[in-house]
């Protein structure tokens, strides 16, 4: 009578068909159309940043540095799809080359913020008491820090170069992130799962990395996706102060800064790089949102 039941031995109990956190997250991320759209744009951007020099050598796009002063501030044309700047250089190729510097700055600076800001925020929030107090007073000092003066000294001592920018921006901007994370950790710390983990005897670093960090992921991702344009603007202000990349290499920040002078007469000088920046920022926020929803453990149930 008994049907041919699947015998117990055939089912492999040791590694049941378990979907890893990341593969599952990727599957859910893939189903979110705008997040994927954002990811595609960012990949295009990275591709453009890598291939731009190649495109110039095969004359697909004009050389961003070639000046042609008889055609300054030209409008959209076949030869210059996005027009030319104050020295007659092709805006399209400058925007594409600008991506290289701006992306690099945006991403590296965020990494610096996360490392410094993250560590300070997490440690201060988790340990509380004297450690928190000391770290936060240190943050207070850093906040009031005359960043402008510091920039000038950095340039004077290190000379204007890309590395100087990272030192300058990185050292100045991590404070906001550290306070944000500290705030989160302070409230998360009391949550039951942390007390449970502490009761289970896991050390502070394990608790911080395994429990606190993932839970502060939401606000961190938002702040990072906002951080990228802020880092790029800061680069523009720094270039204005002379700490930026030495000319003539283009970056979006510099192009916006220079374009500002001609905003009455030739608004496209500012709007072209600003639009590029806006779309980049939009895609990073969509990726950020998609990532946060995909990773959130609760969504897996």
């Amino acid at each position: 009578m008994a049907a041919a039941a699947v015998s117990l031995e055939q089912i492999d109990w040791e590694n049941p068909e378990q979907i890893g956190l990341w593969r599952d997250a990727w599957q859910r991320f893939r189903r979110n159309p705008i997040a994927v759209g954002g990811l595609i744009f960012v990949c295009l951007l990275v591709l453009d940043a890598l291939l731009a020099p190649l495109l110039v050598s095969v004359h697909l796009i004009a050389d961003p540095l070639k000046q042609n002063v008889t055609h300054t501030y030209a409008g959209f044309s076949l030869q210059h799809p996005l027009g030319t700047d104050y020295l007659g250089r092709d805006l399209l190729s400058r925007v594409m080359f600008g991506a290289r510097i701006s992306l690099m700055i945006g991403l590296t600076v965020q990494a610096i913020y996360l490392v410094i800001g993250g560590t300070v925020g997490l440690t201060a929030g988790y340990f509380g008491g004297r450690v928190d107090n000391l770290l936060m007073r240190f943050v207070d000092i850093w906040y009031a820090f005359p960043d402008l003066l510091f920039l000038l000294v950095v340039v004077a001592v290190l000379g204007p170069s890309l590395f100087t920018i990272f030192v300058a921006i990185g050292v100045i901007g991590w404070v906001d992130l550290s306070r944000l994370i500290r705030g989160q950790v302070l409230s998360l710390k009391e949550k039951e799962f942390v007390e449970g983990a502490r009761a289970a005897g896991s050390g502070p670093s394990k608790i911080i990395l395994r429990h606190l960090l993932p839970n502060t992921l939401g606000p961190i991702i938002v702040s990072l996706t906002f951080g990228i344009p802020r880092a790029i603007f800061l680069e523009a202000t720094l270039s204005y102060l002379g700490v930026g990349i030495p000319p003539p290499t283009p970056s979006w920040g510099i192009m916006i800064q220079d374009g500002y002078q001609a905003i009455f007469a030739y608004p496209h000088q500012v709007l072209v790089p600003a639009l590029a920046l806006a779309v980049t920022m939009l895609s990073f926020s969509f990726i950020g949102d998609g990532l946060r929803d995909a990773i959130d453990p609760r969504m897996r149930r």
């Binding site: 020295l87 030495p246 220079d258 001609a262």
Partner: protein, 556 residues
């Protein structure tokens, strides 16, 4: 638009569209008369930056002169065409036969803003005060300690260590006032250019009693204590916003038509331009990028005022280092710059190309002397290769101040050098004061510097290229040049003096002490209802700001 239409425009209300303008104008009356003056005679101008000080003795910047020239009046004042220095507070003056003693006769009706008469003693006190090391007056050197008898050792008087010696030093100066209406100056050497020193707005008189009462550094900080002798006086000072001037009722030269001048301190070009469009400013310096926009705008193009300035820019080569220790290399670099492209395309035709030193508008102007630095890319490259070998091995540190205009010109010049000569140029764009420090320490190869005339006399220009001058950093030194200039400075005969200066200019250009580039001109927009504007080649921040007294506001 022929001329007649433009003239009619004066009468119309700045209506919305030009068409409406023309209709109104058609039935307007003839040339402007006092009857159609606006009720509110207020002139609103932009001096860009807040003056650091309005104490004549301590002024140095152009945005301070823009106010100083209206509120403080020196012995003499430049004529609009800069041909001579006309009488001002001094009705007349005479120079002794040996050229060493200048006697100025003060007008009897010259009065201070508080009604007191201006006396010779006020001038003695003012000039002694400038030469007092403790005040550290910016323009003391070279204008006063280089000319006035007894002032030579101003440079080695330390204000703290030699404080005791200062009173004797000041009394020993060749300055005296035999009576209330006379002011006598003794010079170290005959100086034909001294009339221009007497017309600098910093050499205006200062009241000893006011300085003693309010304090040497305090008296010029508020309208109540700022007693001045110009046609106007300060009525309101709002930090980083504006300074308001009203007529000095006791001025000897009669009441001006404009009863109120508001000097705004707007640093952002776009903000100033927007204010002009909104009728909140009567005149504005056209931002470089808007040049063509303004030239093609039917309404604005008639409000353009184009005035050449006695300001010229050049490439300052650091002659202490290769490749610029070689004259041929310097000439090659100068010949590699297409000045026409720079002036017409990059600077939108607002500046004129110049491969010579003395700017147009001064009697030392010799354009034909510039042949040796004339633009010729091919010749430049061969010249450089002969002089120093393979150009691609040369790397130049090009110092640029981080001001947008400097940056844009710097990028053009760097590109010209790299394309025409094949050299490598590092553009070092950094903070302004850091640039000055590196220039002083000679830590650079190339820098674009320039000079604006303090007064329209060649002497003010030629001394900056003399050996050891503090105003050019390249370390250019040519004994023949120095000798010629020293001789010219004291030469009484004008013709011979000019000839000596011409020879000096030729040596300078052929030596390529500097790679001369372009002369700057002002391009301003001025509202049509601003009448009686008197532009000069030595204006400070606004076209015509030496002679605001001659302006009147038409109905609008």
């Amino acid at each position: 638009m022929d001329d007649s239409v433009a003239r009619l425009r004066w009468l119309r209300v700045p209506a919305l569209l030009t068409v409406v303008g023309l209709v109104v104008a058609a039935c307007g009356t003839s040339a402007p008369t006092t009857s159609n003056l606006a009720k509110d005679q207020t002139l609103r101008v932009n001096i860009v930056t807040e003056p650091n000080s309005l104490d004549p003795g301590q002024e140095q910047y152009s945005y301070e002169g823009a106010v100083g020239a209206s509120i403080s009046e020196a012995l003499l004042k430049i004529k609009p065409d800069l041909s001579d220095a006309a009488p001002a507070t001094a009705a007349s003056y005479n120079v002794s036969s040996d050229g060493l003693t200048w006697t100025f006769h003060i007008r009897s009706n010259a009065k201070w803003s508080d009604g007191k008469p201006v006396t010779g003693a006020d001038f003695v006190f003012a000039w002694q005060r400038i030469l007092d090391p403790r005040l550290a007056a910016p323009y003391a050197d070279p204008f006063f300690d280089g000319t006035i008898a007894g002032a030579a050792d101003y440079a080695n008087l330390d204000p703290t260590k030699d404080a005791a010696k200062i009173p004797d030093f000041l009394n020993g100066l060749g300055l005296s006032a035999p009576d209330a209406s006379t002011f006598v100056v003794k010079l170290q050497a005959p100086s034909p250019f001294f009339k221009w020193i007497a017309s600098l707005w910093m050499s205006a008189p200062v009241r000893k009693d006011v300085v003693d009462q309010y304090g040497s550094d305090k008296w010029a900080t508020s309208p109540t204590s700022l007693i001045t002798n110009g046609q106007y006086k300060v009525s309101e000072m709002v930090s980083k916003d504006h300074i308001t001037l009203v007529p000095n009722t006791n001025y000897w030269g009669g009441a001006p038509t404009v009863t109120k001048i508001i000097n705004y301190e707007i640093s952002d070009d776009n903000q100033a331009y927007a204010k002009y469009l909104n009728g909140e400013l009567d005149t504005v310096n056209v931002p470089l990028a808007n040049t063509d926009l303004v030239k093609n705008d039917p309404k604005l193009k008639n409000e353009i005022k184009f005035v050449p300035q006695l300001t010229l820019f050049w490439m300052d080569f650091n002659t202490r280092k290769a490749p610029f220790n070689n004259k041929q290399a310097r000439l090659a670099f100068s010949k590699a710059i297409d000045r026409n492209a720079l002036a017409t395309d990059v600077l939108k035709g607002r500046s004129s190309p110049a491969d010579y030193f003395i700017p147009k508008g001064m009697n030392g102007y010799r354009p034909d002397l510039g042949k040796s630095q004339e633009f010729d890319a091919a010749a430049a490259k061969t010249m450089l290769t002969q002089a120093v070998g393979d150009p691609s091995k040369i790397t130049i540190d090009f110092l640029i101040r981080n001001i947008t205009a400097n940056k844009q010109i710097g990028e053009f010049i760097a590109d010209q050098l790299q394309t025409n000569l094949g050299v490598k140029v590092n553009q070092v764009v950094i903070d302004s004061k850091t640039v000055t420090t590196r220039l002083r320490k000679h830590d650079y190869s190339l820098y674009v510097g320039g000079w604006g005339a303090d007064y329209p006399d060649d002497q003010d220009w030629f001394d900056i290229w003399m050996t050891g001058s503090g105003n050019v950093f390249g370390g250019y030194s040519n004994p023949d040049y120095d000798a010629l200039v020293k001789k010219a400075d004291v030469e009484a005969d004008a013709k011979k003096r000019q000839d000596l200066y011409d020879q000096a200019q030729k040596i300078l250009i052929d030596d390529a002490g500097g790679g001369f580039l372009y002369q700057r001109n002002y391009m301003f927009l001025v509202k049509p209802y601003v009448q009686g504007l008197t532009p000069t080649a030595q204006d400070f921040e606004d076209v015509g700001d030496w002679f605001w007294g001659k302006v009147s506001i038409g109905q609008h």
